[in-house]
Symmetry: C2
Subunit: 292 residues, 2 copies
């Protein structure tokens, strides 16, 4: 019964992952398209969903910034992104209309991933977890006490200022807004700008491994201390560097120094869903929208 299928989009700056299936844990078809201008990309996505036979609801986990306030006339929009052509794009509304008026669930890509990882962790109803992605950019999604966090917009943890590592004091950082914020220091492009290669291509004894692990560990400690998450799940391309997540976990433990309440339960881990956290989370947003 095609009408009972859920549709999902994990929308990134370079590609869109599309999926359909009857439930988040049963994706029957998936398709990847490049992120071009909004008109072209959204039309291509809509055409693929139409060819799957019709969906009862759509979930979108999107790059941002996005508008998540249901009371805003701009709900479901990508708002002020520097990505050419995408600022002020009615992402959710456009696709809802293209798919015949289906209900749409909409959140950030990293909140979608956090929702999926939270579900995969088995903490029904409660539990607090952060999902960090370390890749072309750095972003974070949060589920606190069982609920995704929006605040007045959404978390942008890539733009906190970590303390500079003593062996990394010369590099100015590449964030156009903040210079040496977390994203300016530890994203994939920041690593390449500094050392001419991705972290996984640097020799095992290169100081970059400890430096990047330290910056990500500071973000983990900040999350443990400021919102008392139990787990920080680390995804994204940079996080696939062998040994990195283990280094981050060790360094975060050292930063805590045994102080924080509940700290014996803290964990820094790889995604339970591998690279599927975002698209599975978007399926969950679709399921929630279908039930609303």
């Amino acid at each position: 019964m095609p009408g009972a299928m859920l549709g999902a989009i994990e929308a990134g700056g370079t590609k869109f992952v599309l999926a359909v299936g009857p439930s988040p844990d049963r994706i029957l078809a998936r398709h990847t398209i490049p992120t071009r201008d909004p008109a072209t990309t959204l039309a291509e996505a809509a055409a693929w969903f139409a060819a799957q036979g019709g969906e009862s609801a759509l979930g979108i986990g999107s790059f941002g910034p996005v508008e998540l306030d249901r009371a805003s006339p701009k709900w479901g929009f990508i708002t002020t992104t520097p990505k050419p052509g995408w600022a002020d794009t009615d992402f959710a509304g456009h696709l809802a209309r293209a798919l015949g008026g289906v209900p749409v669930g909409f959140d950030t890509d990293v909140n979608a991933a956090a929702i999926a990882e939270h579900a995969a962790s088995g903490r029904d109803g409660g539990g607090s977890l952060a999902y960090l992605t370390i890749g072309t950019g750095i972003g974070g999604g949060l589920v606190l006490d069982g609920r995704p966090v929006h605040g007045i917009a959404h978390p942008e943890i890539g733009h906190i200022y970590p303390r500079r590592h003593p062996e990394d004091t010369d590099f100015a950082g590449i964030c156009p807004h903040h210079g040496d914020c977390l994203e300016g220091l530890a994203s994939g492009p920041a690593i390449i700008a500094r050392w001419g290669a991705s972290l996984s291509k640097l020799p095992a004894d290169h100081p970059g491994h400890a430096i990047i692990a330290d910056y990500i560990a500071q973000a983990c400690h900040t999350l443990f201390a400021s919102v008392a998450v139990e787990e920080v799940v680390i995804g994204g391309g940079v996080a696939q560097t062998p040994g990195l997540v283990e280094r981050v976990a060790e360094r975060a433990r050292a930063l805590d120094a045994g102080y924080l309440p509940g700290g014996e339960r803290h964990a820094v881990i790889r995604p339970r869903l591998g690279t599927n956290s975002g698209i599975v989370g978007a399926m969950m947003l679709a399921r929630a929208a279908a039930g609303a």
Copy 2:
């Protein structure tokens, strides 16, 4: 009708503030007692409440660390505090029994203050706000999307690591766990350890004003970026230094550099309830417990 009165405790490391009244905005009597050993202090509090004529519920905003997990057998306890005698104290249970089995609401002192400031801000049902106290210690409470945050324990934002100010590189910090974490650098005792006087006693042109404002502003930026609060409300003794909150607000704006979504709505402010945020929040915890 005394039985319809609410009782409240704001429990700090040096004093307990006790209050009774029919609602959070109507405190009819209040009393302050020094924080001695648990048996003495809790008995004195219970005696004062009994003398008021009986309460229908009690709210407690407590120093910590505390156990907030309702599923834990240690719910309502002060857990691992270094304060002599207070570790593993059944705070909520002891007073519930002493007051004849009344329902008890229990949270951290700073979450209680955040709940009260959130209510005072008029954001019914939603809204995201942090309450920071800068005093003998540094702590923070959070209301996100209308709900207080617990996580696996509670926020301890005093123990994040701010970037060191370029004019404050020699001082090692006084936190026994972390040295130069936020509390180790910017709490009242850290200020006195460094400059021999409280911030409000230092000359207006002393560099300490900008240094401390910078550290607190980094905490504000971290909260704006990591959980997208709209406001950071700053209370506590150090925050009463003339001009400090304004300096923090200005420095936090500079750290954001116009980037964060919703940033035009960010505010760093003094408590709307003055020094009453904590006790009013404890009254709100009592009201919620009475209705549960």
